[in-house]
Structure formats: C-alpha cells, structure tokens
Amino acid sequence: MPNYYEPEIECASREKLREIQSKRLVQAVKRCYENVPFYKKKFDEIGLKPEDIRSIDDLPKLPFTTKQDLRDTYPFGLVAVPRGELARVHASSGTTGKQTVVAYTQNDLDVWSRSAARAIVGTGGTKEDFVHVSYGYGLFTGGLGLHDGAEKLGATVIPVSSGNTNRQVQILQDYGSDILCCTPSYAMYIGETVRDKGIDPKTLKVRIGIFGAEPWTEEMRREIEKALAIKAYDIYGLSEIAGPGVACECEEQAGMHVQEDFFFPEIIDPVTGEQLPDGEEGELVFTCIGKEALPLLRYRTRDICSLNHEPCKCGRTLVRMNKPKGRTDDMLIIRGINVFPSQIESVLLDLGMDPNYRMIVDRKNNLDTLEVQVEMNESMFADTVRSLEQVERTIADALHSTLNIAAKITLLEPKSIERSEGKAKRVIDRRNLG
C-alpha cells in the first residue's frame, strides 16, 4: 500500500490543486509587488497591475526572474520580508559563477521540510527509518534540506555530512542506515568503497537512496542500485526555489512529482519564452506560490526537461517532471553541437565502463577540441597496446555515433580522477581562459 505524507494535497484533484495554486499565486504576486522594489519596477515597466493576476492561467503575463537578477540584487535585494523575520539563509553552490544568497522565514522552512518529508515518504521511507545524510551541511541546501525533511517525518537523522568515505561505510554498516541521501556521484564513490572493502552490499541494511543536486542518467541509477543493493530515487531542488524536495520520484521511478502546491512549474521555450505543452522539452520555470521571504516569480532554472500531468500509478496527482538532461549552463557547445556531460556518462555506461570521466574542451587553431578522459578498469585492460587502442576507438566511435562529435579518448589509471563528495566536476573548459 502506498503511503502519503499529505494525501489531501498529493492525491488531490486537478481542480482542487488549481484552486489552491490560483489563490496562492494572487497572494505571491501581491507580496512581490508591495515588498520588492525590483518586482514593482518590472511590473510598472510593462504596465502590469497585481490585480491583473487572478488565477494560475494568468501566469504567462508575469515577467521572468533570472539567476542574473539574483546576482544583480546580491545579497538580499529580492527578499520580501523585513530582515528580522528571516529564520535562515543559504547560498547556491556557486557551480556556475558568483554565488547567490537565498533567505527563508520560519514558514518557508516549514514549506521546504514538508516538501522534503513528502519526498522521503514517496520513496518508501517511514518514520521508523534511519536517514543517513551525506550531503554537505552548511550554506549548501542539500544537507539541512534532507535533515529537516527527515525530522519533520519523525525519522531518525544521521547527520554525517559529506566526506570521509571510509567513515560513511562504517556508519552504514554499524548504525544500520535505512536511507542514504547524497549526490549520485558520491553514491557511486561510496559504492566503490564498499566493493573495495570486500563488503557484500546485500549485508547492508540500507534499502533506499535519495540522490540529487546534479543530473544523472538511468544507466547510472542501475549502477548505483547494483553497487549498493538499493533502490535509487532522483530528488530535485534548487536553493532559489527552496532546496532538495521541490520534486522527487515515488516508488514507481517514473518521473519526479513536483510539490506544485508550493512550487508551480512551467516548461517554456528557452528562446521565445512561450509555454510548452506536456511532453515537450524546454526550460523548467518555477513560481514560488507558498513562500514568504523569497517568492520568486517565474524563475528560470536553466534545467531542460518536460512535464507530465497524467496521474501516477502511485496515486499521486502531482505533476511529474522527467530527469533534467542538464542545466542549460552545463551544456557545452562544441563545434556547434550541444553536448551535455550526462550524455558522455550514458555512452560509457552503455559500453559497460565505469562513469568516471572528465571532459576537456579546448580551442586549437580556432577549432574546438574535446578530449574525454576515461578511467581504466580491469575488464577494459589487456596486455597489448593494440587492444587498449581498440578500447579508445570503441569509446570514440560510440561518442561519435551518439553525439556526432569527434573526441580524443585518453585512458587514465583507476582512481586518478578526483572523486567528488558533493557535485562532480566533469568539465574543464579551457576555451575561456585564452
């Protein structure tokens, strides 16, 4: 039997959800106009009055908010409440430039932890579970996000934070963690460490993995599930909207349910800004309709994915988003071809290789070059130069047929690419340096 944390919302009819969303949108718009000079100016410039927004259908009338807007108003320019009402601040990991600061009231933290609690329950977690949080704690939202969600649920939190992988494995073994939360690349690393220690993953109690904060593929999911003998679920979030728990997969593993009573999603054409229908890929945009401190309107996430409003087998009616292929700003344009690091990962996993790779993009004689460095493993290794060159050719051919791009393949020794305890650094783009 499926369990829900808040069935009256998670399984509500579309009409009821629409009603809640419309009501909250009207409040959010009013709050922004009255308390955030940035929004007042934007509205006034296009002659938009808060009263013009009467339901969720009026959303396309609203202007977009971008990451640049947050940077321009750094640190607290978009905050809609007096400083004294703030309960906490977080900051983006700064993976794509200057960090952005976000702020929460106590109610906002409550909205976020309810979302994270729903996420945990959706994956089959219960209040009996030990939740092992290996996301980093601190300004990054990963650690405290899952921590608060698990506490809200009444589960037992093990706030391990990231790092010291041997200790992570020790704790998994000794404390009997039921749920592991971290980035997918760190989950792979923990899985490798379990294997290196000669531990049979089936002897570990952990049964659920909740992984997010970076894009990952279905192939990677299968690898992690095998390495740790668990079911692995994708969780989505971003600090600008709240943090992990904005959306998360349920036990069906068929898309991430968006907590759309708090965070209203749209898919737009990234060039024209037009809304796109279900099933069409475009840029994911969120409007925070249940938040006080930072009620961003139509925030462009730069994540590329699609939405699906079909009811889910799990019983939830909450709209599902598919796995983002990557952020538009993770996307590399190499000789005019769009390449996401996750596509390289897919190719390697399809070839039965470990997804330990690094992309080095450079420009030589005005021509972009791509080098993909791949770690060797024993199954790829043979005694002759000829067979290793064959391995390189196999990878190059597979990349060429999938991505239509020529890459130089370099084989590296195992473990020579630095393992990340947070977000994996997969790309070194040298083109901007010269």
Partner: protein, 143 residues
C-alpha cells in the same frame, strides 16, 4: 611450458614507474625481467617476477590495474645467429609474435627471450621440438 608475466597499466606521467617498482620492492618481490610498451598517453609495464601472485596482490592493493599474461621464456645460446633461428622458426610455423624482450641471466653463455604469441602453448612446443630450451615457471621464478 608458459610463465606468468605481470602487465601493469601506467599513465605517462612523471614518477609512475618509480611508484610501481617501489610497491614491488616493498612487497619483497624480485624482478627477473622488465619491459615497457609506450604510446603517447599510456604505457604497459611488463614484468617477470619471482612471485607473480603476491606481486599482483600488492599492486592491486595500491589501486593499480594489473593482469597476468602467459608468455614463453626461451633460452638461447649467446652466439650470433642463435636468436634469428628461433624467430625464423616461429615465422615459418605461422605464429604471430605480439612482442618480445630479452634478458641475460647469471648462467654464462645463455640469453633469454620472453615472447608473447597468440598460441603460446603450441609455439613453446614447436620451439622445444626444434631443440630450443623452454624455461619452466619454477626455473624462472627461482633464478
């Protein structure tokens, strides 16, 4: 009739060769013969040692990629033309030599060649039938 050779994957970067051989030294492994095949980016270090299994374990414990490969060790008289006879024989019999490297032992008058061919067992038998000395694993490990 074949012996076990260690093949170790190494990136072309400073210090790697030293690290690999230090691991062997620390494990009290005695090297009998050594050769490197290299390309621009990587190399394959091939080593004949006295204790192949222990050597593999020691290298793996240090996270290195290593496999055991079967090769033949042929004893050749240390005089002009002796080696060419062996190579001609392998060629005439249709064996494809992947690589080879030589070393000289403490025994006077003998040189040794490590040969990797596609069909090692048959090649060793052919050489033996034509009067070449094929070294048994125990002989080489105990040298």
């Amino acid at each position: 009739m074949q012996i076990q050779q260690l093949s170790v994957f190494i990136e072309n970067k400073p210090g790697r060769m030293a690290e690999v051989t230090e691991v062997l030294a620390d494990a009290q492994i005695d090297i009998r013969a050594i050769s490197v095949a290299d390309t621009r980016d990587f190399g394959i270090l091939r080593v004949i040692v006295d204790k192949p299994k222990e050597a593999v374990e020691a290298l793996k414990a240090h996270g290195m990629t290593v496999t055991l490969t079967k090769v033949i060790a042929v004893g050749i008289d240390d005089k002009p033309g002796a080696f060419s006879k062996a190579v001609r024989l392998l060629s005439n019999e249709g064996f494809d030599v992947e690589y080879m490297y030589a070393f000289i032992s403490r025994d006077k008058g003998k040189a040794f060649v490590i040969i990797r061919v596609d069909n090692g067992q048959k090649a060793a038998e052919a050489l033996h039938a034509n009067g070449f000395q094929i070294l048994e694993p125990e002989t080489i490990y105990a040298m």
